[in-house]
């Protein structure tokens, strides 16, 4: 049965953990393997029991594809491959392969060392998991096996993020992962060709939002930083993702230059080295602007931005510092935070507890830190909103769209919009629910030259809008399909040709005179089958009974008996036989026998 089946894994309707199972033409692919950051127990992992029911994961799954390094897309990968057990290939882009293990290790450290969690994957598991990774380039067709192939497309969003096309024969599915349709300062916009897959799978988390422009977010950031610095305060910016920090640096540098500001901006060196390294490696993944600045000068040698030294934190006066890690749980950013938190002139863009509004924090050694500094939480992550999703669907032209991570009731309008505006079916499965799409695969058939020549000799050019009926014999051998003329088929098979003759009575109801009716039928048939058709003329005595007319050229005008009815005998008597065809009887043939 040609069909595509999609099942988003995981329990409940909640967002935060991407893991989708796709079954296409008998191949099984897992898309992403994310962790839910909100849970501290097994609920953070997708529900793999759905697949393990079918046996060993390695046997069942043909491959796993990871779209980008965010933990809600790859966080459960080591658990899945090393603790549940999977030894097959894991595909991802090169930047993802480089950055994933760092984030996984980071998260593992916090979970196990800081929070003391048990039953978590180990550092060795992360390493073993990454050994199963096969890195891919953009637009490179990768053969997973004889039939299954995948191809990565640029998704924007974060460094190394990709959308994937999964193809088996003529059936294909495109998975978007996270993407954005508007370019930002360091990444371009997602791009994919008009590949017309059977299905496009995309997240619907942001499908019902209308996003505030990038410029306004940046404006807000500049305003807050500027105000703090004007007050003489210090600004701490803990950063998560490498690319985003770079972007904010460019922004501040431009602003400082224009406003002629003197307050120093620092960048923690750890981050500098790492970022430098990855940008050098993956320069083709960034957009034009970054490439230009990188080529002109080493990225972090800005005029106004210098490397940070921990001693600077004690300097008086205003300053801005970018530091890691993002959540302030350790390292430089935490140190700086402790120094500056008590002063309300200071400001920081911050991590968990502070984000939930806590103003008193317990530090190591039972120290309590009272947070007087102003806190601003800003989000710069680039996701496609309703408009972006419509744009992408319009670009790709799929037959159907499948949205994951949304509540069907809350997205009825979006479903209607997609179905009406883009004329595609829209599916919204809940987690654990399977959507089955029937597909009509196109089977390629080779046509013999002789047969083609014969058809062409009829004089009519092929026209995609006017399909013509072609007669031939389909020979299926192994997985090879050939269409040859009947004569050739008989020859190849060593069979003799037999001719079958029969007649069938067709009665015509017509109020006109016989002569006139006969003439009309005659001219109609002549038009339909110019080369070979035949009309038999014979008396029909009683009703019923069929006689086949012989292969004859028309003898002249016919005579028809009064009050006849047309009957479609539905028999295809003879290859090479000319069909009588009307809109209702496609391919059915009858022979007109007009009794005189």
């Amino acid at each position: 049965m040609p069909e595509i089946r999609v099942t988003p894994l995981g329990a409940g309707q909640d967002v935060g953990r991407s893991c989708i199972l796709v079954s296409i033409a008998g191949k099984n692919v897992m898309l992403d393997c994310g962790m839910h950051m909100g849970f501290n127990d097994d609920r953070r992992f997708p529900d793999f029991s759905y697949i393990t029911r079918s046996g060993r994961l390695t046997d069942f799954l043909d491959c796993v594809i990871i779209s980008h390094f965010h933990l809600d897309h790859c966080g459960a990968l080591p658990y899945f491959s090393e603790m549940v057990g999977y030894d097959g290939p894991i595909y991802m882009t090169h930047p993802t392969q480089a950055i994933c293990p760092i984030l996984l290790e980071d998260y593992r450290k916090i979970a196990v060392d800081k929070k003391g969690e048990a039953n978590f994957f180990t550092s060795q598991m992360i390493k073993d998991c990454m050994k199963k990774v096969v890195a891919v380039h953009l637009h490179q067709t990768v053969q997973v096996d004889d039939e299954l192939e995948i191809k990565a497309y640029y998704a924007g969003h974060v460094l190394g993020a990709a959308m994937f096309q999964i193809k088996v024969g003529s059936e294909s599915v495109v998975y978007t992962g996270d993407y954005n349709m508007t370019p930002d300062r360091h990444l371009g916009a997602a791009w994919i060709d008009r590949c017309r897959p059977n299905l496009l799978i995309t997240e619907s988390t942001y499908a019902t939002t209308i996003r505030d422009s990038k410029r306004c977010r940046e404006r807000d950031f500049l305003k807050k930083v500027h105000e703090a610095v004007e007050r003489g305060g210090k600004v701490l910016i803990p950063v998560f993702a490498l690319g985003r920090a770079q972007e904010l640096c460019i922004l501040l540098e431009t602003f400082w230059e224009r406003m002629n500001l003197k307050a120093p901006i620092y960048f923690s060196t750890g981050l500098t080295e790492k970022a430098n390294h990855y940008y050098k490696l993956f320069i083709t993944w960034t957009n034009q602007k970054i490439r230009k600045t990188f080529v002109q000068r080493n990225m972090f040698e800005f005029k106004h931005i210098k490397a940070f030294d921990r001693a600077f934190a004690d300097n008086p006066g205003p300053m801005v510092v970018f530091a890691t890690p993002g959540m302030l749980h350790a390292g430089q950013s935490l140190q700086i935070f402790r120094k500056w938190a008590g002063n309300e002139k200071n400001m920081g863009t911050v991590g968990h507890k502070i984000l939930s509004g806590q103003r008193k924090l317990e530090m190591e050694g039972r120290q309590v830190l009272e947070v007087k500094m102003q806190v601003e939480y800003m989000s710069f992550s680039a996701h496609a909103d309703a408009k972006g999703i419509m744009q992408l669907v319009g670009q790709v032209e799929p037959e159907g769209v499948l949205l994951v991570h949304g509540e069907a009731k809350k997205m009825e309008f979006l479903k209607q919009k997609i179905e009406q505006e883009l004329r595609v079916s829209c599916y919204m499965p809940a987690n654990g629910e399977t959507v089955t799409l029937p597909t009509s695969p196109s089977i390629p058939v080779g046509i013999s030259l002789g047969l083609l020549k014969r058809e062409m000799a009829q004089g009519l050019l092929p026209d995609a809008k006017k399909p013509r009926l072609l007669h031939g014999t389909l020979i299926m051998k192994d997985s090879n399909f050939r269409l040859v003329s009947s004569e050739q088929a008989l020859k190849e098979l060593g069979l003799a040709e037999h001719q079958l003759r029969f007649t069938c009575r067709v009665h015509l109801h017509d109020p006109r005179k016989e002569q006139e009716t006969a003439l009309r039928v005659y001219s109609h048939l002549k038009r339909w089958a110019p080369r070979s058709f035949w009309l038999g003329l014979g008396r029909s005595g009683a009703r019923g009974g069929s006689h086949c007319a012989s292969r004859q050229r028309p003898q002249g005008p016919l005579r028809a008996a009064p009050s006849r009815w047309v009957r479609d005998c539905g028999v295809h008597p003879h290859p090479g036989c000319c069909p009588l065809r009307g809109p209702r009887h496609q391919g059915a043939a009858g022979v007109l026998d007009l009794p005189g």
Binding site: Y206, T208, T209, I210, R211, D212, S213, R215, C216, R217, E218, R219, D220, L222, K223, H226, F255, R258, M259, I354, L355, S356, G357, Q374, V375, E376, Y377, M378, S379, D385, A386, K387, M390, K409, K410, M411, E412, F413, L414, Q416, K417, Q420
Partner: protein, 370 residues
């Protein structure tokens, strides 16, 4: 774009807060529902239009700890499709019903915002008596136990129709063919009308037609097309009337025959599309008005010391965001199609333009800023 960057830097000083959005289709409608939701609707004539119920970004709704809220996006809470273009949309208070009007002007459409899903469904239509090609009826809602829809293209076709029974409960009963440009319900039994000529009137529906009104042919007598809004709390003039030639008149409802003052706004007149003219009173600021419909700007004026006739006035603030942040995809400059004040944030406005942009901005009063 260089000037966009310049403007953005300037905006740090001019705005406390600023958000810019791109709708899928331009809107002429910004109708509040509560203080957290707003309706927008498309006005295309050749394709289906969307009616959307948008929830304000969380950051703009929270009263405290605004800094800890990163949510800057609008959420589409409900949506529906309209074949007709929507020029006006009114929410029926205390219900989940909406009434829309636009071209073609032969019907008003009544919609229901679903409770258990995100769909806005069409429920019924109200026939409009005065069917004229190219004209569309203005609408206002009498909210009460049995809500009524006030509508009309001209003074003679003004009527109130009970929403549920569709029975007519009031007609103007006059033969005056003056064209209406706006209708506004003021109280349980009174409404204000403004004709495109500038003629204004206040009507009590309990009585036979006898409005207190301006002397014809209108406050301006300078021609052009007019619109008006009754608002302004506190003593002094509470009716503002705006003409397509840039003239702004303030009137006292107790004496409509003598305008309190009449000024010339600093706009490039005449307006390219006078149907888009809009004047609104600020709900949270004394004597402040906003106007739009002349170009891609929204201007805020302080009418406190206005008097006399004909003086040129300067705006307190001009919002130029729609011009500077335009995507450069069209050759024509964007035109602001509508604007509205936030119900309780005193200096926050929402404005929409013909390029489908939607801005939410909180301007700084430079007179009081340090």
């Amino acid at each position: 774009m260089e000037s966009a960057e310049d403007w953005l830097v300037e905006s740090l000083r001019l705005y406390q807060d600023f958000h810019a959005f791109d709708l899928s289709g331009a809107t002429r409608v910004l109708e509040w529902i509560g203080d957290k939701g707003v309706f927008v609707a498309g006005y295309e004539s050749l394709k289906k239009n969307e009616i959307l119920h948008l929830i304000l970004p969380l950051r703009l709704s929270v009263k405290e700890n605004q800094g800890l809220c990163p949510e800057r996006d609008f959420k589409v809470c409900h949506g529906g499709f309209s074949d007709a273009s929507v020029f006006e949309l009114k929410h029926v208070p205390d219900t989940r019903l909406l009434v829309t009007t636009g071209l073609p002007g032969s019907y008003l459409h009544v919609w229901q915002v679903a409770e258990d899903s995100d769909v806005i469904q069409a429920v019924s239509t109200i026939a409009v008596p005065d069917k004229e090609g190219g004209f569309w009826p203005r609408v206002a809602i009498f909210s009460s136990m049995a809500p009524g829809v006030l509508h009309g293209v001209r003074l003679r076709s003004l009527k109130v129709v009970d929403l549920e029974s569709q029975k007519t409960t009031y007609t103007s009963g006059v033969s005056d063919s003056e064209e209406l440009s706006s209708l506004q319900v003021l109280a349980a039994d009174t409404f204000a009308f403004c004709c495109s000529s500038g003629r204004l009137g206040l009507v009590d529906i309990r009585q036979k037609w006898a409005p207190s009104e301006t002397i014809s042919p209108g406050a301006g007598a300078a021609g052009g097309r007019w619109c008006a809004e009754v608002g302004g709390w506190g003593p002094g003039p509470s009716i503002a009337s705006l003409g397509s030639n840039g003239q702004l008149c303030l009137l006292d409802p107790r004496d409509l025959s003598h305008p309190v003052s009449s000024v010339q706004c600093s706009v490039s007149a005449p307006s390219p599309d006078p149907e888009l003219l809009r004047v609104t009173w600020a709900p949270g600021l004394d004597n402040c008005l906003a106007i739009s419909g002349f170009d891609g700007t929204v201007q805020v004026y302080d009418a406190t010391s206005w008097d006399g006739v004909g003086s040129q006035v300067e705006p307190l603030f001009t919002h130029r965001g729609h011009i500077f942040l335009e995507d450069n995809q069209t050759d024509t400059a964007p035109l602001v199609t509508t604007h509205t004040w936030h119900p309780h944030k005193p200096r926050t406005l929402l404005s929409a333009a013909s390029d489908a942009s939607l801005h939410v901005w909180d301007w700084v009063d430079l007179r009081t800023a340090h």
